[in-house]
Amino acid sequence: MDEGLKFTPTDFAAVVNQSLEYGFSNILIEGEVASFKINQGKWVFFDLKDDNATVSCFMVLYQLRMPIEDGMKIIVKGTPKITKQGKFSFTVTALKPVGEGSIKKSFEILKKKLADEGLFDLSKKRKIPEYFTNLGVISSPAAAGYADFIKILNARWGGIKIKVAKTQVQGLDAPEQIIRAINYFNERGDVEVIAILRGGGLADDLACFNDEGLVRAVAASKIPIITGIGHEVDESLVDLAADRRASTPSNAAELLTPDRKDVLRVAKSRVADFYARLCSAIEAEKQSEYRSVERVSNIAKVKLDDFRKILENQIKTLEALNPDEVLRRGYSIITGKISPGDVVKITTFDKIINAEIKEVYERK
């Protein structure tokens, strides 16, 4: 009895805790929630159980990032401890619901809460710039989704400096890492857009994108955020809080950048339009000058016609005064002295007659 190690209760609890921390640091336990309660608005207590055993769990409220309630299946991460009161407890640092039913339930509870706070309001969405040269990417460079994004981005557009924050994109540690990356970009302010990317996966894999802290960080970001998480059918709360949601990482690349082929096609079409407009303007100018010349020509023609008419009238007048014309009408011209016995010369239109004057008397 006296040969064993001797401890005070305090020392024993400290040694056991040290051993537990060494042997069971950051282990995961999956089970069903029971007796869930929050004390003093700060401390969270619940039991995690299965058919044969129950583990008491404790955590601080700010670490509870997804709503849970009794009956939900969850997975927790943490370290076992002996309390000062000698009770065994599991101190939880992170948790997430598992299984379709629990994930959906947690999702709906948190969605309603955050929607009521206005985190998903369309009026709060920031505009993603049409053209930008600095992009922050938060993803795992080893993931297929990231590779798809880069491939599509490179094919569509160039001249972008992409800074990649390497984080986990699934699991209990992912939300905190992504939050740090969002804060990092916001503090530095050297990117114009942030893209959070993660390829498709099971609902459990994507559950980290329903983390309350992460959703709030996305909504609070000063830099606009686009998400490309999972597939078309997957909708996370981070998607709802983001300024733009793409259905996949590839789609995010498509939404962020124009296609250089389209831009070139439009540019060529515009140049062709310019050319057509220019030709049409030149043609219009030619037509205008032609019409001016034609107008001047018409004016000159009218004036000439008037002049011709005047001239013709004058000619007619002159012709009317021509002695021959008078003679043609039957008149004649008598020249010489007009006294009885004198011989006068009578000129008609076609004859000249010498005639002797017989008698001369007054007409009136």
Binding site: A267, D273, F274
Partner: protein, 69 residues
């Protein structure tokens, strides 16, 4: 627009300039005296744009910062 001015502009600035020129060509301000010079400038801009779009690559930097801590 000199060649240096053209190359120093960003892609978005060039596209914006092309759009402005389109607007001018289709607007009431259009006049034949300026149009020929503007057309030459637009051709130069379009060529520059094509070259940029063909040549430009994205730069990727994987940040050293450890976001696990």
């Amino acid at each position: 627009m000199s060649e240096n001015e053209a190359t120093s502009k960003t892609l978005s600035e060039k596209i914006e300039e092309l759009e402005k020129s389109t607007d001018w060509f289709m607007s009431e301000e259009f006049n034949l005296d300026e149009a020929v010079e503007k057309y030459k400038a637009v051709i130069g801009l379009a060529k520059e744009l094509q070259k940029n779009l063909d040549d430009l690559q994205n730069e990727i930097e994987i940040l050293d910062k450890d976001f696990q801590k």
